[in-house]
Amino acid sequence: MASQSHVETLALREQFDTAGQQKDASTLGMWLFLITEIMFFGGMFLAYSVYRGIYPTIFAIASTSLNVYIGAANTVVLLCSSFTMVLAVRAAQLGQRRAIIVFLVLTLALGTVFLGVKAYEWKEKFEEHHIPGQAAFHLEGVSADQQGHAQLFFSLYFAMTGLHALHMVIGAGILTVLIFQARRGKFTADYMTPVDVAGLYWHFVDIIWIFLFPLLYLIDRHLK
């Protein structure tokens, strides 16, 4: 830790002896948090697997009511945001203050675009009466006694994409805070842990979507 800068010493919280120890603790803490997120989303992936196993045909029909091109485009938007995020982390590693801000703002903008597209897709579902739990629910091409099974698909669709979107919103909040902190010059090459762990979080939310996209939009598309 000979290269410890003055700034870093200031940022060292009192319970730690060294900056390395503090960084290790933050990184491990974030990874542990991410595995709690794996288990959190895991419960919904489980519910999806169970019901897709029981009602494969209905799930295939319901899945095709989603717009695959919008889904794919939104996936690309999210991947772009991951790319800009990793560049923000890299800029932080190099201590390039302006670049940190630029890439964080880009990431935030792309994340907002993703959420906007998602909101549009949900609005469409409302107009098509694909909202589970509502008396008006109706999915075309499914017999009356199987409408309930079709509702299951949309229950899972809204639960999974909804909680994913909630995580995006939290991520956007974190990015906003980081942008303000970066503007005040808080991050240097020696102290950039907040950017680093925020990056881990952002990429993790991206990975969840990487699985949601095929499971909700793509699987059984060919049956249509």
Partner: protein, 99 residues
Amino acid sequence: MHEHIDSIKLYALVFIGLIILTVVTTAVAFVDLGPFSVVAALGIAVCKMLLVALFFMHIRHSTKLTRLVVLGGLLWLFILLALTMSDFVTRGALGVPGR
């Protein structure tokens, strides 16, 4: 602490790989591969996950402990899925109603 700073070129290559895989998985979804449609879709998703985790999340530079944490999380997800599905896929196997 910043002993591993990857080049922009590497990140860009990974990013392009992710976009290509997205296009491929979308295209393959329209081809009828029978039961392998699921395999293809999830296989590609796993590849994308590995790209993001190894490069963007820097797991390839990370400590053994971090890798252990990640593998532990995935293993526990597997336990949740596998043991629960062991119930649902063997329902009715005895031919006794309700079992």
